[in-house]
Symmetry: C2
């Protein structure tokens, strides 16, 4: 009788454990269910603290980030492509003086705005980039034309502009990109340089977007004005496939922002994909390892946004803040600026 | 007694097996002994067949490849750095009209020679690159100055030239790069384009060098004129760190040659390193996988040269031929052009 009782208890316990496991498994499956579509954006990483961004400015940034997310999300929700969503979201940030891309880009040492951008299609693995352009209103759209309408990946300077013009890309007078704030930043940087003081120029500030569409296709894009007071035709990581931008349907889509030279040397965007494919890391593990260990140990400041092919997202940065946000079906845009909000 | 006999035989057999193992291990260790230094070069991959390269031309190429190897080897044998060896070997090929780099570079659609180069130091992981330069005799030397004397990795066009001039890099008249053979190639390419015939332009032809020095440091460099009849400021993989050039003392040094757009999209040079570090592939496995599977399946033609940090070398290509060679202590330069010789 005692044995039967024990057996009964044992079966009961096993049953409960089994039920609990099933429940937690279901919960975990629900939590990890692949969303129909996902969009993530950034507007640059850097020394972005509540002390430097007053509440009214914070609100301005958040409104614009949400606007860019909403525009991309509308395309994705309608069954549009991740490439279209990436381009549209970036176009909105390129037109906004708050960000260092398109209108509002920083000035080079020559007092001009030299813009770089790149885009990659995770389905075809095709890619396009422009660098050092000064008259293209939306460099990300020019990069997309390079990808889709040329046999090349990367076009630079006036050659890239000539190509864009032939493709019907909107050309503007260089004064379109002028903002008083960025002009003053250049003057300050030049003054510090003349006084041989340390360069306090922000090495970051760039916009980017990654998206997963209903067809399971990933895309990534990045657009920037580069570094204030940059010289000698310097090109950072933003227009370099593998460094600032990478997308592959087998792994993830990544857009980076930060001190570009570190991102080039560490082939950051591709490294995240490679760690997923070859070292079986999750998107979170791979991006945290690259941003918070590899780069941090080299004092390479910045961050990335990424989506894997299951719709998981990552937005690590090793700076004080990063303008960022994401959106999934059935939710409002979630936007953040500082470490925790 | 029988048992003792069997025991004796068993011990004897075990001893023999053990000795044999030791012997084969020793042999394998001797075979894999790390050489004091190694240098490998390439002068471009492509449709290089005995039918297209008559014996006297073949001899010319082999003499020049051996000369470049000898110059780099002399530095390495004297305890010099892999960076110096890479630069000197590439300088020799840049000055030689046989190769598509420096003097003898192909012409762009505008009838000028636009040169790209990059270099990477596997010890510091620092890197430098110039792209679209038209007056720098030795673009690889300018790339090295970018790496060592600037805060940047990549400088393009006239900005890069201005920087090089300030660094005492030799500036030449653009006519220095002119060769009748390449000029005629451009005319032919333009004629075929006008007649809307298929582009037969060779997508390859570049020079590169990788070296391991006595101090265990790896370095890689690549220099090119790009593609005949290239337009719109097109930049290929050669000046892109991770695509055409990569070096890391923890894994390998790689220099690529081929249809650049494929090498950029596949982040070829870094991918070989990533497969070694994350997927535990050998240098041979990693480079064969990338060149003979990943690229071949995309019709991405070309090849790479590489050395790992143990001094193993790899020189795979998926084209008819690749100008290539290597040298180690105590041997003559070994040079090859076609598949098997």
């Amino acid at each position: 009788m005692k044995i039967k009782m024990l057996l009964f208890l044992a079966i009961l316990t096993l049953g409960m454990v089994s039920c609990k496991n099933q429940a937690s498994q279901e919960k975990s499956e629900v939590a990890n269910e692949k969303p129909d579509w996902v969009i993530v954006i950034h507007g640059g990483a850097g020394n972005i603290t509540p002390e430097r961004i007053p509440p009214e400015k914070e609100a301005e940034y958040k409104v614009k980030l949400a606007e860019a997310l909403d525009a991309g999300a509308a395309i994705l929700d309608n069954g549009g492509s991740s490439l279209d969503a990436v381009e549209v979201a970036i176009n909105i940030m390129e037109d906004c003086p708050l960000f260092n891309a398109g209108k509002g880009a920083v000035f080079s040492a020559d007092g001009i705005n030299e813009l770089d951008a790149s885009i990659m299609d995770g389905r075809t693995m095709n890619a396009g980039a422009v660098a050092g352009v000064t008259t293209i209103r939306h460099p990300i759209s020019a990069a997309r034309k390079v990808m889709e309408e040329s046999a090349h990946v990367m076009l630079v300077k006036d050659g890239a502009e000539q190509f864009a013009l032939g493709q019907g890309i909107e050309i503007v007078d260089p004064s379109w990109f002028y903002t008083e704030k960025r002009w003053q930043s250049l003057q300050k940087a030049k003054q510090r340089e003349a006084e041989k003081k340390a360069d306090l120029t922000k090495k970051s500030g760039t916009v980017g977007c990654v998206a997963l569409d209903k067809h399971g296709n990933l895309a990534a894009g990045t657009s920037t004005g580069g570094m204030t007071n940059k010289k000698y035709g310097r090109i950072g990581d933003s227009p370099i496939i593998g460094a600032g931008t990478y997308a592959n349907n087998n792994s993830c889509a990544v857009s980076a922002t930060g001190h570009g030279e570190y991102f080039i040397r560490n082939v950051v965007a591709y490294d995240i994909s490679a760690r997923m494919l070859y070292a079986n890391m999750t998107l979170n593990e791979a991006s945290n390892e690259v941003i918070n260990h590899v780069l941090k140990e080299q004092n390479g400041s910045g961050g990335i946004i990424a989506i894997d092919n299951k719709g998981n997202i990552a937005m690590p940065f090793n700076t004080a803040g990063m303008f960022r946000g994401y959106m999934k079906p059935g939710t409002e845009a979630e936007v953040f600026i500082f470490k925790d909000k």
